[in-house]
Amino acid sequence: MFLTSKRLLLKYIVWLGISLAVSRPLHAEGLFWQTIALVQQDLFPDQHTVPTLQEIHATTYLQRVMHERRVTQEQKDFIRNGERWLNETAKEQYDKHYVVLSRSQRQKILHVISKERWGEQWITTLLTYIMEAMLCDPVYGGNSKEVGWKWLHHHSGLPRPKKMLV
């Protein structure tokens, strides 16, 4: 779900309040992925000639990565902590959560954290998984219809995997 309009945003805030009252863990998880999806959009925006995040399933790809055994727990914790630190920066700068900031405000936050060591690393981590989603073999759930490979005129090596090996 993307916050594409103010109406949706209001709905989201109401849902947020209810969720907070009912189930904090569920809310936290939803808000976490909401934030991640929006950061992905800010890092790799939709453009006419470029594969979109929807086409490469960037968020669901990262959700799967968070369950991979061969991705270290430190890496998974860092992705989660980075989201928290991002929101702390958003609070400091605008006293608001990242997901309710304007596009230009969000870009400013990304520029602010990119000057921090953790922030630079966190952005490159998210970008790396966007690249994976865009350019992996489609058996891994990204790169639907090989849209990323076509964009970069890439010829896959053969034979290709028939199933996910990780």
């Binding site: 055994r69 992996c136 090596g157 090996l165």
Partner: protein, 556 residues
């Protein structure tokens, strides 16, 4: 069951022994820590193979401790899992030879006598080998024929003597850009060498030829064209192969190894008896196993009463560099040549294998040139920063990735020069950090002699001159003292003096009658080339010794 020979490790050091002795009718068993992947299992899966390191253990399960000696003499300790620092290669039947690029170079005659030819270097333990090139030459030739080495013999200043006029297999098909390289070298008066490859260009040796799939190094070969220890030897042998068998101790009496203790994948312990034991688990792990095999006969570890096991660990020194060819500077035909996928860029330079500077004679090395690896995710992630070192995202990043990956191609080079053996670079074991089996992990005491970087810098600048002549842009290189984990040797030197070596001339432990070490551990110095061809050749040499020994025992 009593086997004639038990081999620990199934890579380039162990497989020739298995091949020769089992095919001669002896009972041979190979214990391999990793799983058995066949050609049908190998796909060009960048996520699994390159980004998640499918073929190496998880560091939380198995790791190393690295003690890095800094320039002020202090030691910085790294626990591998905490720093994500891996020294594993290919943990599978056939070992890392499954994943090699197969750049095959022989050592040169002077590599066997570095101390005599170039003299001592302060702070380095350089010695001559106990054998010379002539002893190993027939086995280099044997590897060409049995493993399948393709190439074209050309004259150059440091061409090694050969007993055969040509390679048994013609070169694999080459990208047209090699012609640009050859012309640049001719203009510079350098000798362009077609790099020999352990890759079959066509069906032979009961294996399929190369399919030019555009992915080679780091990936298992699905056709069997690559001369891995598995494809070329183990699958053509009669040896019994037990995968997922981690040998954690060799039990001995005062003079002989009696049995190997190993865990299976369920951590169930087993033992296995043999008349002869051959250790070839890769340099670090071979020394680790010996050091972990303490007994009342060998309180400091097996074959280590002379305190030599683990000493003089070496890597390949050098580094890597690159240059980019951009469409703006090329004709339409050149663009097509440049972007042609699949075909190889097999070129090397050895003009400075030895060189003089300011009246001093230096041992130099080899420069291999190759296209940037085809891994598309890795190539895209390398574009995250602009020329000023600023992190990019958004449209700026998208534009850069598309432009760089569709209208240019990177030619890379790798520099190989000697990593001088020293007292500070060695292998030990760490009693505090244990692997998933509860066995002390290997310790890598790391130190690079400053001389190594000096030579690497000299060679890198020569490589840069070729790229410049070819018209490349964005040329850069990095020569450092970082150890490449896939180019590791030493730890169990062979030699004639038991006080300064672990193994005798035939790679048998001085202190035991039936223990041989045949991976790269035996090498006192590494030469200035990738090691695999030499490991194969030496293992075939030792196999001949073992064959005679077993045959004489049988008839007596």
């Amino acid at each position: 069951m009593m086997y004639d020979v038990c081999i620990i490790g199934s890579g380039a050091g162990g497989a020739p022994i298995a091949y020769e002795l089992s095919n001669a009718g002896f009972k041979v068993v190979v214990l391999e820590k990793g799983p058995y992947y066949s050609e049908a299992d190998f796909t060009k899966d960048e996520i699994a193979v390159s980004r998640r390191d499918l073929y190496t253990p998880l560091l939380k399960d198995e790791q190393h401790v690295i003690n890095e000696r800094l320039s002020d003499g202090s030691i910085k300790r790294y626990v591998g899992s905490e720093y994500n620092w891996s020294f594993w290669n290919g943990s599978m039947v056939g070992g890392s030879s499954n994943l090699m690029s197969g750049f095959f170079h022989r050592l040169k005659p002077n590599d066997f006598r570095l101390r005599s030819v170039f003299g001592a270097i302060e702070g380095a333990n350089v010695v001559d080998w106990p054998i010379d090139y002539k002893v190993l030459e027939p086995y280099y030739s044997k590897v060409e024929a049995v493993i399948g080495v393709s190439g074209r013999v050309v004259k150059h200043p440091f061409a090694e003597p050969r007993s055969t006029a040509t390679f048994p297999y013609k070169s694999v098909a080459e990208n047209g850009v090699t012609r640009w390289f050859d012309k640049a070298c001719k203009d510079l008066n350098y000798s362009s060498i077609p790099t020999p490859r352990a890759i079959l260009p066509y069906n032979a040796l009961q294996r399929q030829g190369c399919s030019y799939s555009n992915f080679c190094g780091s990936y298992g070969c699905a056709t069997g064209a690559k001369g891995s220890a598995r494809a070329a030897l183990l699958e053509r042998s009669q040896a019994e192969i037990i995968p997922n068998a981690f040998v954690f101790r060799l039990e001995s009496n005062a003079t002989e190894v009696i049995q190997a203790h190993y865990y299976d994948r369920d951590k169930k312990a087993h033992t296995l008896k043999a008349k002869i034991f051959v250790l070839a688990a890769q340099a670090v792990e071979s020394s680790r196993l010996l050091l972990n095999s303490k007994s009342r006969y060998f309180p400091k570890g097996l074959a280590n009463n002379g305190s030599q096991v683990g000493k003089n660990l070496i890597f390949s020194a050098g580094g890597a560099g690159k240059g980019r060819f951009i469409f703006e500077k090329l004709t339409q035909k050149q663009r097509q040549e440049l972007m042609e996928p699949g075909l190889f860029f097999n070129r090397s330079l050895q003009d400075w294998y030895e060189y003089e500077r300011e009246g001093k004679k230096y041992k130099g090395g080899t420069i291999d040139f190759l296209f940037e690896h085809a891994n598309i995710i890795a190539r895209a992630t390398r574009e995250f920063y602009n020329d000023k070192g600023e992190l990019l995202w958004g449209e700026a990043l998208q534009e850069k990735i598309h432009r760089k990956l569709t209208t240019s191609r990177v030619l890379t080079f790798e520099v190989f020069n000697d990593w001088l053996p020293t007292d500070y670079c060695s292998i030990g074991v760490d009693d505090a950090v244990k692997d998933k089996y509860g066995v002390p992990v290997g310790v890598i005491n790391l130190y690079a002699h400053p001389h190594d970087v000096k030579v690497g810098e000299f060679l890198a600048q020569k490589a840069v001159s070729v790229l410049e002549k070819m018209g490349a842009v964005e040329i850069s290189y990095s020569i450092s003292s970082s150890p490449p984990p896939n180019l590791v040797a030493g730890g169990c030197r062979f030699g004639t003096d038991a006080k300064t070596s672990v193994l005798d001339v035939n790679c048998k432990a001085h202190e035991l009658d039936n223990l041989y070490v045949t991976d790269a551990s035996f090498m006192p110095t590494g030469g200035s080339v990738p090691y695999t061809w030499t490991i194969y050749a030496n293992a075939f040499r030792v196999a001949e010794v073992l064959l005679k020994r077993l045959q004489s025992t049988k008839t007596s």
